[in-house]
């Protein structure tokens, strides 16, 4: 144990370099900075915005439209008395994001049940989506006014009918059925909520797998490049301990690095994401998810955690073998690519395809990739496919054990010194 701790300490010290610490600190600071800047921009965009209005009509209807905008948290700069061109120039020179022109006869047309037209001029001073939000809000105010006005017309002309029923004679009441549970709501919303909930899993998994694997591959490759591997292999420590120490150190440092990056990423997303998420969240969605049993229990989280943990172990063991194949540090960097693809393939497929309906050979191929299973765990938990979950966990465990045995075998035989992979060719080095 003393020897193992000695080696583990050395491995950790080697991985936690000044460069790593600086890069982590820089990322946290940078992401937080971007997050804060974005947050301010979002606040500006969602806060009180200034628009100019040129009311050439001055009717009660046009006044109602402007009042409606004021109640939607717009600061209205009145351009009355100017010509349209003057109003455009004034608005353009000022801070207004939009100029609203209500032409003469607007109110009259409305009372005569003729379509009325208003003009909007958006001043695009940047092309950010947040910058264009002003016009979207104006459109929603106009559509609310349209709704109210058309209701009034219908109530006047056909007082015996409900305007809403006249406009939408067919209504749908949507239900979602999951297993034995049923709740009122749209399938689209439920799918959206689930994808939002499980978005973090692939991001976390990819981060940890990539960081830890890169560290293991580099750790082995560096021993080769620095000509320290031969000495290490002749000291009195078991080869399995060498493998374990390298994997454990890379796993720990990778986990911490990924944690720091996730923290930094949250700082970034927190800036722009929170308010947007709040705006996008649909009322009653959590209740529907609860009713459909689409929420994680403590044991669900434990299973998900176990699945991610096993995937990390598989990645580390695979990285260890790839590290042996690498000739030096530079070639180790390219060795990470197959691993990244192995994580990305199931991620994208789980994003765009339904595992139950894809062709069998493709399904077998995807399920054979150990990293597929953590992506499927949340879905299977929701759908109660416990058999699939257990099979996935068992498969990852078997793959991990097989890889560790293979890695230990490489470390215990000549292959550790003779195996090399260069430009896709396997070469055997003679002493």
């Amino acid at each position: 144990m003393k020897r193992f701790t000695n080696l583990l300490k050395k491995e950790i010290k080697e991985l936690v370099t000044k460069q790593l610490v600086i890069s982590l600190a820089f990322t946290v600071i940078l992401f937080n900075f971007i997050g804060q800047v974005s947050k301010k921009e979002v606040q500006k965009a969602t806060g009180i915005q200034t628009i100019s209005a040129l009311d050439q009509d001055g009717s009660p209807a046009s006044q109602a439209l402007i009042k409606g905008l004021e109640s939607a948290r717009f600061k209205i700069l009145d351009q009355s008395g100017k010509t349209k061109d003057e109003a455009i120039e004034t608005a353009k020179a000022g801070e207004s994001k939009l100029l609203l022109v209500i032409p003469e006869g607007f109110g009259e047309s409305l009372t005569e049940l003729k379509p009325s037209e208003i003009e909007t001029y958006s001043f695009m001073r940047s092309f950010s989506l947040i910058g264009a939000r002003g016009q979207i809000v104006v459109q929603s105010v106009i559509s609310a006014l349209n709704e109210a006005l058309s209701n009034n017309f219908l109530s006047e002309k056909l007082p015996e009918h409900d305007p809403a029923s006249l406009k939408r004679p067919i209504k749908s009441k949507d239900f979602v059925v999951v297993q034995d549970m049923m709740a009122e709501g749209s399938a689209n919303m439920v799918a959206g909520m689930i994808s939002q909930q499980s978005l973090l899993i692939p991001v976390v998994l990819m981060m940890i797998v990539i960081y830890s694997s890169q560290m293991v591959i580099s750790a082995v490759a560096m021993e080769k490049q620095n000509k320290t591997l031969e000495t290490l292999l002749t000291v009195p420590i078991r080869r399995t301990s060498i493998i374990t120490a390298k994997m454990l150190a890379a796993g720990l440092v990778g986990l911490i690095s990924a944690g720091v990056y996730m923290f930094a990423f949250r700082g970034f997303i927190g800036g722009i994401g929170e308010e947007a998420a709040q705006a996008g969240a649909q009322a009653g969605a959590p209740a529907i998810m609860q009713k459909l049993g689409l929420t994680f229990s403590a044991s669900g989280y434990a299973i998900l955690g176990l699945s991610i943990f096993l995937a990390i172990l598989v990645a580390l063991a695979l990285a260890m073998i790839l590290g042996v194949l690498a000739e030096d540090f530079r070639s180790a960097q390219t060795m990470i690519m197959p691993l990244m693809f192995m994580v990305m393939i199931p991620y994208f497929i789980s994003l765009f395809a339904d595992m139950n309906t894809i062709a069998l050979p493709l399904k077998i191929f995807i399920l054979a990739i150990p990293f597929t299973h953590p992506f499927l765990v949340s879905q299977n938990l929701y759908l109660g496919n416990y058999g699939m979950i257990v099979a996935g966990l068992a498969y990852m465990l078997v793959v991990f054990v097989a890889l560790v045995i293979f890695a230990a075998r490489i470390f215990s035989t000549d292959k550790i010194l003779t195996m090399k992979l260069r430009f896709g060719k396997k070469k055997t080095a003679a002493a």
Binding site: N6, E14, T17, N226, E230, T231, V235, D414, A430
Partner: protein, 240 residues
């Protein structure tokens, strides 16, 4: 003198390429035994097999009466190996490197301190040991590695080309260190293609070429047998 190491019929092949075709030799307690021969003769392969890095394709190796193939962990406790192109961890300070390596062999903190003190004395690097290995010259690194190999007073020190790439003065120092430690009880198995160095260092020599031992004995025995004035001439004579 009893044998520390006995090698009989040692064979090694890499695929179809035969590196060792069945060699026999012994290393006795407290002696320097050298394998000499040209590049590709099989010297490094032999040393790597004895250092438990490679597995043999045939033959027997007995170390302190135990089968090397069956008990590699026992062998690793008692030997130390200095590869020809060895390096040390560049981001470690010299002293930290010695402590790190001593920790694998020492059973107590006191023993670890003894090992490190001995290594510090061997290196004669003084305060430079407090700086990173990456800043050392080739000679300094080699002395650090040699100190690492000898600090535990191993039963058998396996040194592959111990003075390879060193200048005359550094090479001389390394040879003197090796000789000094043999007097303290360590047996040495070394390889070199520098025959003059071997003549200075070794008690007994084996001439190896194309995976076969051509001749073996003390330098003076070999010179007498081949009527040669130095080992280079002995080697040329034994090739005929």
């Amino acid at each position: 003198m009893e044998n520390v190491l006995t090698v009989r019929g040692l064979k090694k092949s890499y695929g179809t390429q035969m590196a060792l075709a069945g060699i026999d030799f012994d290393v006795r307690a407290g002696e320097v035994f050298a394998l000499i021969g040209p590049n590709g003769a099989g010297k490094t392969t032999t040393l790597r097999i004895i250092a438990t890095l490679l597995t043999s394709s045939g033959g027997d190796i007995t170390f302190l009466g135990r089968d090397l193939r069956k008990e590699p962990d026992f062998v690793r406790e008692k030997i130390s190996y200095l590869p020809e192109e060895a390096g040390a961890y560049k981001d470690m300070k010299g002293l930290d490197y010695l402590e790190f390596m001593a920790n694998f062999y020492a059973r107590t903190p006191e023993e670890e301190k003894d090992f490190v003190d001995r290594a510090v004395a061997i290196t004669e690097l003084g305060d430079r040991l407090k700086t990173k290995v990456g800043t050392y010259s080739k000679g300094m690194t080699r002395k650090l590695l040699l100190a690492r190999a000898l600090m535990t007073k191993p039963v058998l020190a396996i040194l592959d080309e111990p003075t390879s790439g060193l200048d005359v003065l550094n090479a001389l120092e390394v040879r003197e260190i090796v000789r000094r430690y043999v007097k303290e009880g360590t047996s040495v198995l070394l390889s070199s293609h520098n025959m003059l160095e071997i003549e200075f260092l070794s008690d007994r020599v084996a001439l190896i070429n194309k995976g076969l031992i051509l001749d073996a004995g003390t330098p003076s025995e070999l010179k007498g047998k081949h009527q040669a004035s130095n080992l280079e001439e002995v080697f040329r004579s034994s090739l005929r």
